[in-house]
């Protein structure tokens, strides 16, 4: 943990963020629900990338085994009315290994024409989501970006105006945190821009 604290301290200092020992983000997205009160520790708050502010921190929880994710949280309030929930999760990612429920809340798998995107991610949304709006959001530029630019394990969850980007890593280092923040900020900016249009 000392190394991780040092990583976050150095990252926060280098980017002018406010370092925080711990922070409760709340049970706002499926990944945050796994950890009690969505607690991240260590954490940092401020400008993540570009014009996007948010919080970055490590989320750890145990469900049979311990999972460690580094997450970046950004608010995109305007998205609630247009896309209440949208999950773009790296294919094969596991967030639990003790779940044996046979029924779950309804969702729709989103189909895209990009083979690279479909191979890399499982994208799902509300079954009552406007499909035309989703096609506009997943423009060729965003599809190309998601398929090639973010860190290997990058995933994001958008739920009721909260965007949570994440990578599963014990200690991603300053470069890994930078890549996480930049990818999350890029997605947030794209969603915000589409909501404005």
């Amino acid at each position: 943990m000392a190394d991780l604290d040092a990583t976050y301290a150095a990252f926060a200092a280098a980017r002018g963020l406010e370092p925080l020992p711990a922070l409760g983000l709340g049970s706002l997205t499926p990944l945050l629900v796994e950890s009690k009160h969505g607690q991240v520790a260590p954490a940092a708050r401020g400008r993540l990338a570009g014009e996007v502010d948010g919080i970055v921190g490590q989320l750890a929880y145990t469900r049979n085994k311990t999972f460690r994710f580094n997450v970046a949280l950004v608010e995109v309030h305007a998205s609630t009315a247009l896309v209440p929930r949208l999950f773009c999760i790296r294919s094969g990612r596991s967030t639990r290994d003790d779940e044996f429920y046979g029924f779950e809340a309804r969702h729709s798998k989103l189909w895209t024409e990009s083979t690279a995107l479909n191979q890399r991610y499982t994208i799902s949304t509300s079954p009552f989501q406007d499909p035309n709006w989703m096609r506009q959001l997943f423009s060729p530029a965003l599809v190309d970006y998601l398929a090639s630019k973010p860190p290997a394990d990058f995933s994001f969850e958008l739920a009721y105006g909260i965007l949570l980007g994440s990578v599963e890593d014990d200690d991603p280092g300053a470069d890994g945190l930078t890549a996480l923040c930049e990818a999350t900020a890029h997605v947030a900016a794209r969603i915000a821009r589409e909501c404005e249009e």
Partner: protein
């Protein structure tokens, strides 16, 4: 709610194991008492599989109906007036009781209540004053879906 791969696997597992337990002992010439005990347990497994299968079929039919309302319904809005937690959970998801002001163009405003099983992160966002999209059946506006 919708069935997932685990659900399909559970139905297959309980169904096939139950059938094997019902039919196996007589085929293997086990004595009557053993056959009865094993077959009784097997019958319970088959009933569990049948129950899960019926629930999945019901959920599928309900989903198809909701999809029809979504495609053909009148788009309106539902403002949350009151949120109640029934303290009942289904697969770790709370059953929420919502009091809603439903406004459908051409139909008007009405107060309705709705019970929905929601993931925890969704349930946490259900607050008084939150406005959610809603779609009403044009033939029967009392039938509506709440988009959450």
């Amino acid at each position: 709610m919708q069935i997932n791969r685990t659900g399909i696997w559970l139905i297959g597992f309980f169904g096939l194991l139950g059938l094997a337990m019902c039919l196996g002992p007589p085929l293997l010439d086990a004595n009557a008492e053993t056959s009865l005990i094993v077959a009784s347990t097997g019958a319970i497994f088959v009933l569990v599989a049948a129950g899960l299968g019926l629930y999945a079929r019901h959920a599928k039919a309900k989903a198809a109906r909701q999809d029809w309302v979504f495609r053909n319904g009148i788009k309106g809005s539902a403002t949350i007036l009151e949120v109640g937690n029934s303290h009942t959970t289904v697969n770790e998801m709370p059953l929420m009781k919502l009091q809603l002001a439903l406004e459908i163009p051409g139909v008007g405003r009405s107060e309705v209540s709705r019970r929905e099983v929601m993931p925890v992160f969704t349930a946490n966002c259900m607050k008084e004053g939150l406005v959610l999209p809603a779609y009403a059946n044009p033939e029967d506006p009392s039938e509506f879906i709440l988009v959450w």
